[in-house]
């Protein structure tokens, strides 16, 4: 699978998303061959590959596998729930390349000695069941249909839901109890490393962020959708891959509803290394493009209201703090002091990262849309 070169000179990879319009098990075997055996060598290859989680937290995959494998009784859950509204990369991956994800799940289960392998999704379970039925009998994970909510994809909430409980975070890390939770995209990459090795995996991306990643692009671009890119791609290249902007861009939300608003600088480098310097991160590679004719504060208020509504409802600071945040942002002239006061009472006071993620997004909005804030204080707005 070598990359082709696009018109702009950037390399276009199709490791996960290839042009195969008929994703049958047969065509999967024709393309990649039989599933390799899971072995200690595979674990070493994964370590050498530098593969990190593709669900947003970018935790080193080999490290997680080692931690889980230490337990006597283990379990593996593939996370395909994708509760983030602005993300569709997992849905697209499962529709176009389910067998690669399932290979990765089966391999991960073997590597940690798990007896149970489950793939959790919130929609399209029947299509997934059909893909599983095509596989050899001993390579058929179970499907868990989980309610579609933002917090349901949080690791501990997902484990709870798969085990029959509520899809609410427990504040504990599953891998500390021998349960491996991996995003479906991570497992797809794992299945490719098993066949083609660490060196091949590292032939894309950067030294610190090797491999390819799936990104979901939406907003003011001509062809919104899911693209496969290398970390280090610029915003200009990403937007070009999506048909270019549909109107002049003002800002981008990078990393999803937990992410950060940044000015739409075409030279913005989309890698965790570069974004960290701006107080941001790639997260699950959700990029929303905001045009100049839109109001960044209105968008932020809308997202904050959604996040408030999606609270698991377990912790007071989140249940009360997020609606208060959303309410303040929806005012004609939001008060930065009030938002800081709320932030101090919200930060690190919940059982999961939901309130902190929302707060981070709001704080980035205050920085990026400071001109908009001043306009609003004078009774004006970009959108009017």
């Amino acid at each position: 699978m070598s990359a082709i070169v696009s018109a702009s000179g950037a390399r276009v990879h199709s490791r996960l998303l290839h042009r195969d319009v008929d994703p049958t098990y047969r065509s999967h075997l024709d393309r990649h061959g039989e599933l390799p055996f899971a072995s200690d060598e595979l674990l070493l290859e994964l370590e050498a590959s530098g593969l990190t989680g593709r669900g947003g937290a970018a935790f080193p995959t080999a490290t997680k596998l080692h931690a889980v494998a230490r337990h006597r009784r283990t379990e593996v859950i593939a996370n395909g729930t994708e509760g983030e509204p602005a993300s569709s990369k997992d849905a697209v991956l499962l529709a176009r390349n389910p067998q690669l994800v399932l290979d990765g799940l089966v391999l991960a289960a073997e590597l940690v000695g798990a007896r149970r392998a489950t793939i959790a999704v919130s929609r399209n379970a029947e299509a997934l069941e059909r893909a599983i039925a095509e596989r050899p009998r001993r390579q058929r994970p179970a499907v868990a249909l989980i309610e579609d909510s933002f917090v349901a994809g949080e690791e501990s909430a997902l484990v709870n839901a798969v085990h029959g409980g509520a899809a609410k975070p427990t504040g504990r890390r599953p891998f500390e109890s021998g349960i491996l939770v991996q995003n479906v995209e991570t497992l797809a990459h794992l299945a490719l490393v098993a066949r083609y090795g660490a060196a091949w995996f590292r032939s894309a991306g950067t030294t610190d962020e090797p491999g390819t990643v799936l990104a979901t692009v939406s907003g003011a671009v001509r062809m919104p959708g899911v693209v496969e890119i290398e970390p280090g791609t610029t915003l200009r290249e990403l937007v070009a891959r999506c048909g270019g902007p549909s109107e002049p861009l003002q800002a981008v939300l990078v990393g999803g509803y937990f992410g950060s608003w940044l000015p739409a600088d075409p030279g913005l480098v989309l890698s965790n290394t570069a974004l960290r310097r701006l107080g941001a991160s790639l997260g699950a590679r959700v990029v929303v493009a905001l045009p100049r004719t839109a109001c960044g504060l209105a968008e932020t208020a809308r997202i904050a209201a959604y996040m408030a509504e999606q609270s698991a409802g377990q912790c007071g600071p989140c249940v009360f703090g997020l609606p208060a945040l959303a309410q303040e942002l929806a005012r004609q002239s939001p008060s930065v002091n009030r938002i800081e006061q709320l932030g101090a009472q919200i930060a690190r006071r919940g059982a999961c990262a939901h309130p902190d993620g929302t707060l981070g997004m709001v704080q980035s909005a205050l920085r990026t849309f400071d001109a908009e804030l001043r306009m609003h204080a004078q009774g004006r707005c970009s959108a009017r």
Partner: protein
């Protein structure tokens, strides 16, 4: 030797008894939920135990200090 007051914020229902019994280290946010701003020094231990027992949601626990005790 100071212990820590731990709160399971998921079960806390903002009764506020802990803040009343242990005002030295427990503040309340604007919605009535506790913010622990210090450690349980030996003089506060009795009050801390009272707070743990008084909580209607059993949301509190005292976590012993992890520091080594110097035996003279």
């Amino acid at each position: 030797m100071s212990d820590e007051l731990k709160i399971d914020i998921r079960v806390c229902d903002a009764y506020g008894y802990c803040a009343e019994l242990l005002p030295e280290i427990v503040d309340l946010d604007e919605w009535g939920y506790p913010i622990v701003a210090g450690e349980i020094t030996p003089d506060l231990l009795a009050a801390a135990r009272a707070a743990v027992a008084a909580c209607p949601r059993v949301a509190l626990r005292i976590e012993p200090s992890r520091r080594l005790t110097v035996i003279r």
